[in-house]
């Protein structure tokens, strides 16, 4: 495993920690302030700090150090959880998120002096008023505190000792420097040095390895053999150390054993006195020592009364099925998904071949069919992740919006556990962010407006995700002012997007906000950007094979619904025949299919036909014309109409000869194998090995309706 790979794990872990901290702080804000919650937040930040140190991200480490110190006081109950404190912690978390991002991208760390000052102030319990002084103190030396802290950490570490070993060897071998006078150290390990898996002999050897020479062993305290307790320390040693070795190096070795070994430095010093444990003759020394220490706060060591309780505390946890995970490189997973896609096709091909040989009803084929489906579902589920990972970023966006717009928004999340494909999740973040910013900036009114309209001062934003018939629906609903259609229309006319006398339905006007270059904000705000947002949103969603629809009621609010595929790799489609072509209509667009009755289709002008669907007229688009296939139908009534939903042009009815099947297909890009073709989204291989083109319904309908005369050609 390379260090890059380990770092990649670290950043994944950071994301997890940030999400955990965010969840914990959200719980704190809602009043859940128990030890577990606070501990989880602490652990999250602590874990980032640990990794940051290990990988040398000093800015991140310095920042997390301050953050962690504050959290540690909260955890230890020194600081009470209060609303202002949670607020500081939340903002500190936002900056931490930026710090992590900057460490990952190797970019300039975010400005954090202000927050560090606030955290320091919060820790000392100072109000905002007296925060000024710590500000100066911290801000002048933002990077210093941690360096200082780190080096003081190291004082007690093995590190400096080892440095001196290395230094010693380095110095001694190549060119002996002017020898400093050698010095003496007396070492007296007591009984405790042998407890807890410690072994004084190893430490003595280490002193020897430093270059020490044992010059005396103090044996006067050794009792007669029948009085000797092997668990006691009776011996003392005196070592002569070379002058090149630092006294601290020896101290560091014995830092390990603490008070259980006395050291005395210098030739004049006398060897520390032997210290025999009085009350603990043959009893195991470690236990006696521990029992004494346990009186502070620890549970008794021997499995006495408290131990079973301990057992029980740990058992339910141990009994729980452990969530075990394994990290896999995404490309490997994608290869698997690709192969599974091919397997699905191969299976279908074989089924078709067997059917043509008249042996399709074999049991083995049914078994293979079932297995293939299982494998496909399992493979898909590997890539599936809960949408909560995207939703978890939303609180931060709302906080930032609250501070920049002054609008308070309450967030409600529904269906966070809904799972969908990782790629979809990753690419969902941006459009979702845009929609949320848009909802707060344009949708939700200011507090005064809301109160005047008889609404609660705090706006509500609902994010809901659910599975519905093989698709995922994500709904972003605000309780704001709704779309002001008059203004939208006026704006669109002003921008030259529509004619001033155009007759447009409510839906059509709503859809205008997705037009490129459209923006209704009277002033361009930094929040919603420059009117490219909604256009980009629709484009992003479309690239994911999804659609976006709007429902809005003036004064009540707006709801955007994103309909997305569960996966990008395999789609459902309707296989249709048009002339001599076999085509696939992606099921995502299909609303219904019908065989028109006489009178359902009415002419409009010379070359336009409209279908009457329960009183609503939608344009009929003969697919053979659009793709240039041979005309096979005498008239529209002889074919089948597939009503499709499109982004740009509303509904349309595709006229095809007949529908032969509905099945899953793996999209193969035409661009990579041939070239981009207008109206065609890609190609796939059918069960019989034939290549079928997949219709780009949006492009096809938009193109045909934009140039109706082309159809006549």
């Amino acid at each position: 495993m390379t260090s890059e790979e380990i770092q990649a794990i670290f950043f994944v872990e950071c994301e997890e920690s940030l999400v955990a901290a965010e969840a914990g702080l959200a719980a704190c804000k809602d009043g859940t302030q128990d030890a577990d919650t606070v501990n989880a937040i602490f652990r999250a930040v602590h874990s980032i700090k640990g990794g940051a140190g290990a990988f040398g991200y000093t800015a991140l480490q310095a920042y997390t150090h301050t953050f962690e110190t504050l959290l540690s006081d909260v955890r230890d109950g020194i600081l009470a959880v209060s609303e202002p404190l949670v607020d500081v912690l939340l903002r500190a978390l936002d900056t931490l998120t930026d710090h992590v991002a900057s460490a990952r991208d190797n970019s300039t760390p975010p400005e954090d002096a202000g927050l560090i000052a606030e955290m320091t102030a919060a820790q000392t319990g100072d109000g905002a008023a007296s925060a000024a002084e710590p500000v100066a103190e911290v801000a002048t030396a933002p990077a210093q505190p941690e360096t200082a802290a780190a080096s003081s950490d190291l004082d007690f570490d093995l590190d400096s000792m080892l440095d001196s070993i290395v230094g010693d060897f380095d110095a001694a071998e190549p060119a002996a420097p002017a020898p400093s006078p050698s010095w003496k150290v007396h070492i007296r390990p007591h009984a405790g040095a042998m407890g807890n898996g410690g072994e004084p002999l190893l430490l003595l050897r280490e002193v020897e390895a430093l270059g020490g020479e044992c010059v005396a062993c103090e044996t006067s305290s050794v009792p007669l053999l029948d009085e000797l307790n092997p668990q006691q320390g009776y011996l003392g040693w005196t070592f002569l150390m070379p002058g090149s070795v630092d006294q601290a190096a020896v101290q560091d070795i014995y830092d390990f054993v603490g008070d259980d070994c006395d050291l005395a430095f210098g030739a004049d010093a006398t060897i520390p006195a032997v210290r025999l444990s009085v009350a603990a003759p043959p009893a195991p020394v470690a236990v006696a020592q521990l029992a004494a220490a346990a009186s502070v706060s620890l549970t008794p060591v021997r499995p006495t009364a408290a131990a079973p309780a301990n057992d029980e505390a740990a058992k339910p946890a141990a009994g729980q099925p452990q969530v075990q995970s394994i990290r896999i490189d995404l490309p490997k997973l994608d290869r698997l998904i690709d192969s599974v896609g091919e397997l699905v096709i191969a299976q279908a091909m074989m089924a078709q071949r067997l059917a043509s040989e008249g042996i399709a009803a074999s049991e083995e084929l049914a078994l293979l069919d079932g297995l293939t489906r299982d494998i496909q579902e399992s493979a898909m589920s590997i890539r599936a992740q809960p949408i909560g990972s995207v939703f978890s970023r939303v609180p931060r966006i709302l906080r930032e919006l609250a501070s920049s717009t002054g609008k308070q928004v309450k967030l409600e999340l529904i269906g966070e556990a809904t799972e969908l494909d990782k790629t979809v999740i990753e690419r969902l973040g941006e459009p979702l962010t845009h929609l949320i910013r848009n909802a707060v900036d344009h949708g939700i009114e200011t507090v005064q407006e809301r109160l005047a309209a008889g609404k609660p001062a705090e706006g509500t934003l609902v994010l809901a995700a659910e599975h519905r018939s093989g698709r995922i629906l994500i709904r972003i609903t605000d309780d704001g002012r709704g779309i002001d259609r008059e203004r939208v229309f006026a704006k669109a006319v002003e921008k030259g997007l529509v004619a001033a006398d155009a007759q447009m339905s409510k839906e059509d006007i709503d859809a205008l906000i997705f037009a490129p270059g459209f923006s209704t904000a009277a002033s361009i705000t930094s929040v919603s950007g420059r009117g490219v947002g909604m256009d980009v949103v629709r484009q992003n969603v479309k690239e994911l094979g999804g659609r976006i629809t709007i429902e809005s009621e003036h004064g009540k609010g707006t709801s955007f619904t994103l309909t997305l595929p569960l996966t990008l790799a395999i789609s459902d489609g309707m296989i249709v025949n048009v002339g001599d072509q076999t085509l696939i209509v992606p099921l995502t667009h299909v609303v219904e299919s019908l065989r028109p009755k006489p009178g359902d289709i009415q002419g409009l002008g010379t070359n336009q036909q409209l279908l009457n669907v329960r009183g609503k007229f939608i344009p009929v688009l003969p697919v053979y014309q659009a793709i240039g296939a041979a005309r096979s139908l005498a008239n529209a009534e002889a074919g089948v109409l597939i009503v499709v939903d499109t982004e740009v042009a509303g509904q349309a009815a595709l006229l095809v000869d007949d529908i032969c099947d509905q099945r899953q297909f793996v999209i193969k890009s035409l661009d990579t194998h041939y070239r981009a073709v207008e109206g065609i989204a890609g190609a796939t291989i059918l069960g019989d090995g034939q290549v079928a083109l997949i219709l780009d319904v949006d492009g096809l309908v938009a193109g045909a309706l934009a140039h109706p005369d082309r159809k006549a050609a």
Partner: protein
């Protein structure tokens, strides 16, 4: 010829586990890993090790709890246990020692120093 020193590392952070695994195996140790104290206890119930290296802050059962329980049991009572921690206050060290830790390593660690710390309690 000594047999290979077998180490159990206990840390809830995947990147820290990866670092430890890399550092310790490069130094020629045999390494097993556990996600937290509970997982470590489960593993130790069935396996033998020469050294345990444990983090302090972990979910379910933290490092102090793990050490206490190992010292309270019979099988690993005398096993060297090193505490790997970012917290280096004397108070924390005292607490670790009281719990029964043999020694500690402060994060961030250098692979060679880590190996030396392990050798300090084995061989």
């Amino acid at each position: 010829m000594n047999k290979t020193t077998r180490i159990l590392t206990v840390d809830d952070s995947a990147s820290m586990r990866a670092l430890l695994l890399h550092a310790l195996t490069s130094s020629g140790f045999e390494v097993a890993q556990a996600d937290d104290g509970v997982a470590a206890l489960e593993w130790l119930a069935l396996n033998e090790v020469d050294v345990v290296i444990t983090d302090i802050n972990m979910p379910r059962l933290d490092g102090f709890g793990l050490i206490e329980r190992l010292r309270a049991g019979d099988r690993h009572q005398d096993r060297p246990i090193l505490v790997l921690t970012t917290e280096s206050s004397d108070e924390k060290k005292q607490r670790a020692r009281n719990a029964g830790a043999t020694g500690w390593i402060v994060k961030p660690f250098d692979p060679e120093k880590l190996a030396t710390a392990v050798r300090r309690v084995t061989h």
